[in-house]
Amino acid sequence: MKSSAMVTPRPAREAVSNASPAKVAFGGVSFSYPGRQALSGVTLDVPERRVTAIIGPSGCGKSTLIKSINRIAEIGTEVKVEGRVTIDGQDVYAPGVDLVDLRRRVGMLFQKANPFPKSIFENVAFGPRIHGASRAGDLDQAVERSLRQAALWDEVKDRLGTSAMELSGGQQQRLCLARVLAVDPEVILMDEPCSALDPISTARIEELIEELRERYTVVIVTHNMQQAARVSDRTAFLLNGQLVEVDDTETIFTTPADRRTEDYITGRFG
């Protein structure tokens, strides 16, 4: 048998350091809840159409950092924000910012999948509908496109009317991703999106993240350092609310510059 052509190796992730413009930028951001400062003086650029992972021990401010981008950190509590968080150069804390539009542009996946207790179809159609899509054909299209993008279409296309609560955990998480994608976001935030999933479902989500980076800016918070190493282009290490180090993921996991990063990723912490 004639041998086939050589397998083309997957291109190495290019160094992001100088390559991508910042989609989201933190400029000296300090963030406080009543009686507790969660972030102090964080300056960080999140490059466009890349995956940025935020790592750090519990309580270091990872979740607050990403939730300050779509301003859900302030829901139900008083907060004090100093410095600037910008998307495409626009301050998201400027007066008059439309929070509904902000949260459409910046979608989010949480630790535990949180589908609405509605049908699969309605879960995905919900966003486009409140953002103005009303024609049945448009909605059908948006739902199919989003479910396909979330790699869920083939599994649910024959039962779009059944309740989302009947799906498995991994499917529910992909449904939530489809719900995010349906409103055409620019930035997707993920807060420990795989921590409640089995390894296969985790691999599916990671595979999706790989595809999402072609069109979206992704920021993922994870406790699983191997996951950060696998999926991200850039990795930022946070400790006690401060940014210790940010660099290309390969650099962080082979030759980090800061001793604290080294200690954390090699399991020498505490």
Binding site: E250, T254, T261, R268
Partner: protein
Amino acid sequence: MTEHTSRHYEQDLLVLKEKILLLGGKVEEMIASAMKSLLERRPDLARRVIDSDRAVDSAELEIDHLCLSLLALRQPAASDLRFIATALKIVTDLERIGDLAVNIAERSIELSEEPPLKPYIDIPRMASAASGMVGKALDAFVKRDPNLAREVLQADQAVDDLNVQLFRELLTYMIEEPKNVSRALRITFIAKYLERVADHGTNIAQMVIFMCEGRDVRHPGAQEGAGGGR
């Protein structure tokens, strides 16, 4: 360095380090014995060197196994990853040094069956330089000292020079008298083996620099397209 939160992991890394050092000590000793057998014309010592190769081979397998399980079970990162990658590479160098000691021992047995060709002057100097390089490289590995490793790199040229010098000298012996050829050739081989030992010492030192600094110093200029190697 701070200890790992997982004491088992810490322990496994220590065991790996110790095994490397034991193997290093073993092959250094083999070179010394092979040289002694050559200089003192003692085939019994040479045979002992040949016999000890089996222990070196099994130590290599054991170290490889330990490295692979650490990689699989611990997913090491940063300095730990570089340490294990270094161990995995230098164990091959150490095993080869053991093989070279065996080769020297074999030539020494053959040479002991004929009258001496000439007094050995440069060969012991080469042996002590080459063996010193290996010892220092292992020392640098234990102390995580890249400067010590750099001293090893600088020492390699002297061994290469001695090899060339010795080759020229032995060539004249061969040209002068055809019956010298077999002995002179065997001594040339030994010089070549020692030169290879020094090269393995150099390899180990280069890996130690990588382990300490994360910089690959092996092939300057060859890193374009190879990825990494900042």
